[in-house]
Symmetry: C2
Subunit: 318 residues, 2 copies
């Protein structure tokens, strides 16, 4: 983990390339969470460049790159972010993506000139394909979207912004590989140590919840079909688990149906378009408002990139 | 028109109750407008309290109220805004609304404790019903959503924010009754006199375009069926026309089908949920990008309140 002056320097090199997060609250949102529910502020990264928080990590990585070519595997948002950050820094970039990724996410990677390497995740794992590519180009730097100290330090800039503006009791954040959650834990430890950090994870991919409960790093059996495509990661990264084991108070498992309700609530009460993974934190609060009764809660909306037709379907049903 | 120190004082009393506008740009949006198109920044009021710019006007009015009870007619957004501002200021409020208004807009007025008076606009005009209510309570203050110097001064705060952050060549804004456009003109005259102001109006309700062309105030024959329900106003206000006759360079008439394309483009390229009226400025640029070639353009997105089912339909079709 990067700490102290090193962390400060990473933040200083990263922040100028970011758009500040947008903090929103809404009486209608608080109403929907019940009369004794929490007062919620949403920290939305949907307007970050490339539409998700991942540009924070990607920028920290490209600002400290150890090679002229970067390789990564990503369900999409990290790929687009690394492609953009690499293009700005003059680095080449290849992104391994599941062939079933949202179309809009594949296009976003290609827009910035990166190469997209599509795989069938029922046949090959992303890790295996990444290892093949790395063996073919030993000079290239393999970048994990979460299990990397610069990724964690870059994502921590979001926590720095939140704690500069708000003094919540709890921060709730989506958890996939744990890069965002561990970044928030690092920022919290430095800037607001009394704030509780809670993860929100799809029940269909509940490796982080199991890992936290058991105290050992657990994995899902391959990638699951949750609509939260940013949280299909098979397990937390090793570095992320090391930070989150003591740094995160709890992980709440959320049903996909509640994620759809949260996506609609953000549409109706906050005028906010989010992707399913981005709705996880609000879904966790919707599912268990009593857990947050009377508290000031910041819910992180991690991103907004979602296919138009899929979103229309989630909005329209029921 | 309020000017000089009077305008400054209205701004000082109004701004503390507002959420600052959110300025967004996107390479994908600029791409969609063509290789020689404009560079666009969106100034979005979808996250303003009550979900539209109208809270600016409503706050200026309630901060300078001349009675304990306010009466207004509104297709919805001004109603919700005045209801909220009145509740905060401890004033009673009645809002005359077309019965066919979006459900979400009616609910938003009622949420703040205001009385909603629904009328069938094919039978009664809003003005006639408002006159009835005013006759029944001569003490009450009738508030126009646009034709009022405090409304114009309040809306001008949006221009103040835009010109503090950006120095565009052109500002494009939706036009209904002209309250927003004339507010922007007032701010422009004071802070950035070289900026061109252009209106965007539904072709189905093109009274402002005809008024500007002819130099006389024209009206539509009753309220039309454009999907831009915030711009169904029958004519510009007298004060607004007086300001806009010389203050607005042009009014572009936009087809509803292009409004739907603009709504989708804002969804896909900017992660922004907007109501049809809010998409008018982007639609005007989409419809005639050559008119804006090479220019720096700020497009005002006036609001984001729209029924979920209707939005899903516009997103999903085609």
């Amino acid at each position: 983990v990067l700490e102290g002056d090193t962390l400060t320097r990473v933040w200083e090199k990263t922040i100028p390339h970011l758009r500040p997060t947008v903090l929103l609250s809404s009486p209608r949102l608080d109403e929907a969470l019940g009369p004794n529910g929490p007062r919620v502020a949403v920290a939305t990264e949907t307007f970050q460049h490339t539409g998700s928080f991942k540009l924070r990590a990607a920028t920290a990585v490209t600002e400290h790159a150890r090679a002229r070519r970067l390789l990564t595997a990503s369900s999409g948002n990290f790929g687009a972010a690394l492609a953009r950050a690499a293009a700005r820094a003059g680095l080449a970039c290849t992104v391994v993506m599941p062939a079933q990724s949202a179309r809009v996410k594949i296009d976003s990677v290609r827009r910035f000139g990166a190469e997209v390497d599509l795989i069938d995740t029922t046949v090959t794992s992303r890790a295996a394909r990444l290892a093949e590519l790395a063996a073919a180009d030993p000079e290239a730097q393999v970048v994990s979207p979460y299990d990397d100290p610069y990724v964690v330090a870059g994502n921590a800039t979001l926590g720095a912004e939140i704690f500069a503006a708000e003094r919540p009791d709890v921060v709730v954040t989506p958890v996939g590989g744990g890069g965002l959650a561990s970044g928030l834990a690092v920022a919290r430890d430095r800037l607001a140590p009394s704030v509780e950090l809670i993860g929100a994870e799809p029940r269909l991919a509940n490796d982080a919840a199991r890992s936290l409960r058991s105290g050992t790093l657990c994995s899902n059996e391959g990638e699951t079909g949750t609509i939260c495509d940013g949280a299909r990661t098979v397990s937390l990264g090793a570095l992320n688990f090391a930070i989150l084991r003591d740094g995160m108070a709890d992980v709440l498992e959320v049903d996909d149906a509640v994620v759809v309700r949260a996506l609609r609530l953000l549409f109706e009460a906050v005028n906010l378009k989010v992707e399913p993974t981005g709705a996880l934190a609000i879904a966790a609060v919707l599912q268990a408002p009593e857990r947050f009764a009377g508290k000031r809660v910041v819910c992180v909306v991690s991103g907004g990139n979602v296919d138009r037709a899929a979103y229309a379907r989630w909005l329209g049903d029921g």
